[in-house]
């Protein structure tokens, strides 16, 4: 519930019926100071530092991991034209895009079923949606590895149905990675959609029926537009973390399924090539921000129509 509330309000500003009315001139700044200071020092300053790091070059004759600031903007060109980096970057957006669509296809009907057919058990069904969070997400991903393994149940069924070769499997593969991403972020898709479906006034849907709309037309013209804020929030909350994730690709994929997160982690923590890792982080963040802004604007205008 709390997560749903949090997510639902992330994008839309709370409409205040009553204007803020306290007058203390400096009070709000004292309230904001500690939290914003924390975010400034540990979120904004690091981003600036990261940008600085992305322009560094190795110290001539220095050790591994020693870099100096030379404002070498060519780092961006070098990294973007290197296929060991741009291919995983591209792959990340493909994988997380597919996973987001799959999560929408699973999460929307699920949220709809809970909101409109759940009756008095709605809250308990919602708890079941959040329940997987109570088990560490890495353990759940490892569990998928066992479920999808060659001697596991999924492969047995697929082999029986001749959907895979008698010796074939589904793990490790791109399929397993996308399935894992879909799985891990499905609750983030379902909860905001539920939150906006729950607020839909049932009389509007009835009214569309009274005006001779077929059930599907009623859904398309009434329910779906009203649930769009939830869909937007859900797709963002799935797509953004999925694009940067590396746990699923590391646990469920082959080396040929690496995503940009794996590259960043490896370059940063194993190779200690901080500038390249910083460049990759920045490109990832910039690409996501551009996609998100474009998406929000587009959905915003569609909603008005």
């Amino acid at each position: 519930m709390s997560i749903a509330a949090a997510i639902g309000d992330t994008l839309e500003e709370q409409p205040h019926k009553n204007k803020p009315q306290k007058q203390g001139r400096f009070t709000p700044y004292w309230l904001l100071l500690p939290g914003l200071l924390w975010l400034t020092i540990f979120f904004i300053v690091p981003l600036v530092t990261l940008f600085g790091t992305s322009l560094m070059t190795p110290v001539p004759g220095g050790d591994v991991g020693e870099f100096e600031q030379t404002f070498h903007f060519a780092n961006y060109v070098d990294t973007l034209t290197d296929s060991t980096y741009y291919i995983p970057l591209f792959r990340s957006f493909i994988y997380s895009g597919i996973a987001t669509l799959l999560a929408l296809a699973i999460g929307y009907p699920l949220a709809y079923a809970i909101a409109f057919k759940g009756g008095r058990y709605r809250n308990i069904l919602l708890v079941l949606v959040i329940a997987p969070f109570f088990v560490s997400f890495i353990l759940r991903t490892v569990a998928w590895r066992q479920i999808l393994a060659d001697e596991g149940p999924v492969v047995a069924i697929l082999r029986y149905l001749s959907l895979v070769e008698p010796t074939g499997g589904v793990y490790p593969s791109a399929f397993a990675v996308i399935m894992g991403l879909t799985y891990n972020f499905l609750p983030f898709m379902t909860l905001p959609i539920y939150a906006s479906l729950e607020r839909v006034d049932h009389r509007l849907i009835e009214a569309s029926g009274d005006l001779y709309a077929k059930p599907f037309t009623g859904f398309r013209k009434v329910t779906w537009p009203l649930s769009l804020p939830g869909v937007v929030a859900g797709t963002l909350l799935t797509f953004i973390p999925a694009a940067g994730d590396y746990v699923n690709a590391a646990l469920l994929g082959r080396p040929s399924n690496t995503m940009i997160g794996n590259r960043i982690e490896y370059t940063f923590l194993s190779v200690n090539d901080y500038p390249t890792a910083a460049v990759l982080s920045f490109i990832l963040m910039a690409t996501i921000l551009v996609l998100v802004l474009f998406y929000i604007r587009r959905m915003g205008t569609e909603e008005l129509v």
Binding site: A6, P109, A113, V129, P132, I138, L139
Partner: protein, 275 residues
């Protein structure tokens, strides 16, 4: 009989709506199965008589449950995670709640910038948050460990606390506070006796959210922890050579404790509404 058929919609519509209802329910059941299957797997394999590598089923045993600290490092990492998450919860709940109050109850310049600063950490992938903070720590030579992870977790939890508390606070009627002050409560009393109790559920929800976010975080932790090991990090590191069944025991126990707590409060809510 005739009245009965008259009130019912035609057969075709009935069949279609029965199908619609049940197809949707069937779909929901499958979706729930998908969500809960790995949880069930984790639970079942906590009974595996596996020794060190818990990959293939080797027979039923209760030994893992009798001795959950039997494997090296499991309990140590769990204790680390709990201590960390408690500290993070307290810190981020205080900082976030203060911001939420400022945003909802006061008019001030710089509101847009504040909102953006709250929103951005939630819209930034964890690898970027983790790597940028590590870049800072490396540049100013801060040794990695408990405190660097603490700093990182508080940073990404604050935003979630703000939005959760803000939602609750915005739905409160400010006239309640005014009424208290009309009845000669001063501002502090009105806050303590009216506002705080009404916002408390929102703050509690935010604290729970912060606890679970911190307890389950892996990516940001992995970047900033150095030698310090949390439970998710322990599981990830041991995934290559096999996770001890004790990790499944602890995860399953936590799952059932959390589920029981939430379900009890939900059922109590349901009863209260019906009464």
């Amino acid at each position: 009989m005739s009245t009965d058929t008259a009130t019912k919609p035609p057969v075709g519509v009935r069949v279609r709506s029965w199908f619609g209802d049940n197809a949707l329910k069937f779909y929901a059941v499958i979706a729930f199965a998908y969500l809960l299957l790995p949880v069930a797997y984790t639970f079942v394999f906590s009974f595996n008589d596996a020794g060190r590598t818990n990959i293939v089923w080797q027979g039923f045993t209760l030994d893992n449950w009798k001795n959950p600290c039997g494997a090296p490092q499991v309990c140590e990492s769990v204790v680390n995670s709990i201590v960390l998450a408690l500290g993070v919860t307290i810190m981020s709940t205080i900082l976030g709640t203060l911001i939420a109050f400022a945003l909802v109850r006061y008019q001030f310049r710089g509101r847009g910038t504040t909102n953006l600063t709250i929103f951005l950490p939630m819209a930034t992938p964890e690898v970027v948050l983790g790597s940028s903070l590590l870049a800072l720590f490396l540049n100013i030579f801060v040794p990695l460990g408990f405190w660097t992870v603490f700093i990182a977790h508080v940073m990404f939890c604050i935003s979630f606390v703000v939005v959760t508390v803000k939602a609750r606070l915005a739905s409160l009627d400010p006239r309640l506070e005014q009424a208290a002050m009309d009845l000669y409560a001063n501002e502090r009393e009105a806050f303590r006796r009216i506002t705080l109790p009404l916002v408390a559920p929102g703050i509690a929800a935010a604290a729970l959210l912060a606890f679970s976010l911190s307890f389950d975080d892996f990516i940001i932790t992995n970047f900033n922890s150095g030698q310090f090991t949390t439970f998710p990090k322990f599981v990830y590191v041991s995934a290559t050579r096999g996770i001890p069944a004790q990790a499944n025991v602890i995860a399953s126990a936590m799952f059932f404790i959390a589920l029981a707590l939430v379900l009890v409060s939900q059922i109590r809510n349901m009863r209260r509404k019906e009464a």
